[in-house]
């Protein structure tokens, strides 16, 4: 069955304490070339049947209304996951 990926990130202008904590850990490991980390979410949604424009539109709407909160987050990507080579449906 096809999978649709939705990616959500905290808004760029907002503090991202989780990303900051990860960046701090990288610094403590001596990975000083990595100066900042932002941490978001990736949803993998399995769809029954095939993905057409109507399904993508429905996912877009869910991404904007349920999967993200536009006050604090942005939907940064929606795409159909390609089936791994060799997998048959």
């Amino acid at each position: 069955m096809p999978t649709i990926v939705v990616e959500v990130m905290p808004k760029a202008e907002l503090l991202d304490p989780q990303g900051k904590a990860v960046a701090g850990a990288l610094g403590r490991l001596g990975k000083t070339r990595f100066t900042s980390v932002r941490l978001g979410k990736r949803f993998e949604i399995t769809v029954e049947g095939h993905v057409d424009d109507a399904v993508l539109a429905e996912v877009r709407e869910l991404a904007d209304t349920v999967l993200s909160n536009s006050v604090i987050e942005d939907v940064v990507g929606i795409h159909v996951l390609e089936a791994p080579a060799g997998e048959t449906h």
């Binding site: 905290p10 907002l14 503090l15 304490p17 989780q18 900051k20 904590a21 349920v66 999967l67 909160n69 006050v71 604090i72 987050e73």
Partner: protein, 232 residues
């Protein structure tokens, strides 16, 4: 006078809210998230806790619960609704209140007796306070940072919809030290600190008079009872 308290999977402070309502002099009615029934209550409290384990976003999944359809409808018709902590997060997710709550800027969970200033005594839940009154009630959250766009923030301040503000220190990075806000009509109020934990001598915050004697939170519940008696 009957005030409903909705229990969601992961609610923690529903019993404390019920107790606060009884101590303030009303009947507390336990409501269940999975029903489409408010059981004829006169007002509603969405309690604190960690509904759905804070998965997705705090309060987000609870805001899609069956009973929230009735809660939103009642709120839009003017029923007093108080969201405490996780309940505030639900009201924001349900778009009954503006802005959003994000992880504390310092990244830590914080639990303390928090001093607040009551900025707006015109809401259904704050009529019993004096304007500018300073109170102390417990605060306990990991994601209590109030945020909103610059436009929204300006509107909230301009329309005097900031209900309570942090005093002494800002515990979570909330913009403009905002601890609680209301909708335009003043019937829906959300706040991060917990008034239901400061309603009974012996179990509240310390005061100058005695340990754990603080009962400043009770006024939120007695205010709504008084308001409903006036409008009944």
């Amino acid at each position: 006078m009957r005030i409903g308290v909705v229990t969601f999977p992961g609610s923690l402070d529903d019993r404390d809210a019920q107790r606060a309502i009884r101590l303030a002099g009303a009947e507390a009615v336990a409501l269940w998230h999975g029903e489409h029934d408010l059981h004829g209550v006169d007002a509603l409290v969405l309690p604190g806790g960690f509904s759905y384990g804070d998965y997705l976003r705090c309060g987000a999944i609870a805001s899609l619960s069956p009973i929230m359809a009735e809660v939103i409808d009642a709120a839009n018709k003017g029923m007093p609704v108080l969201g405490i902590c996780n309940g505030f997060q639900m009201l924001a997710e349900a778009h009954l209140l503006e802005g959003g709550l994000i992880r504390n800027d310092h990244g830590l969970f914080i639990c303390r007796d928090q001093q607040l200033r009551v900025e707006n005594t015109f809401t259904d839940w704050t009529g019993g306070f004096a304007a500018g009154q300073e109170i102390t009630i417990p605060l306990k959250n990991g994601e209590g940072g109030f945020t909103a766009s610059a436009d929204t923030l300006e509107r909230l301040e301009g329309e005097e919809r900031v209900v309570v503000r942090y005093v002494g220190m800002n515990p979570n990075g909330s913009l403009n030290d905002i601890a609680g806000i209301s909708n335009k009509r003043g019937n829906v109020v959300g706040l991060m600190p917990h008034p239901e934990h400061a309603v009974e001598p012996g179990f509240g915050p310390d005061t100058d008079d005695a340990m754990r004697s603080g009962t400043d939170g009770l006024t939120f519940f007695s205010s709504v009872i008084k308001r409903m008696l006036v409008t009944a």
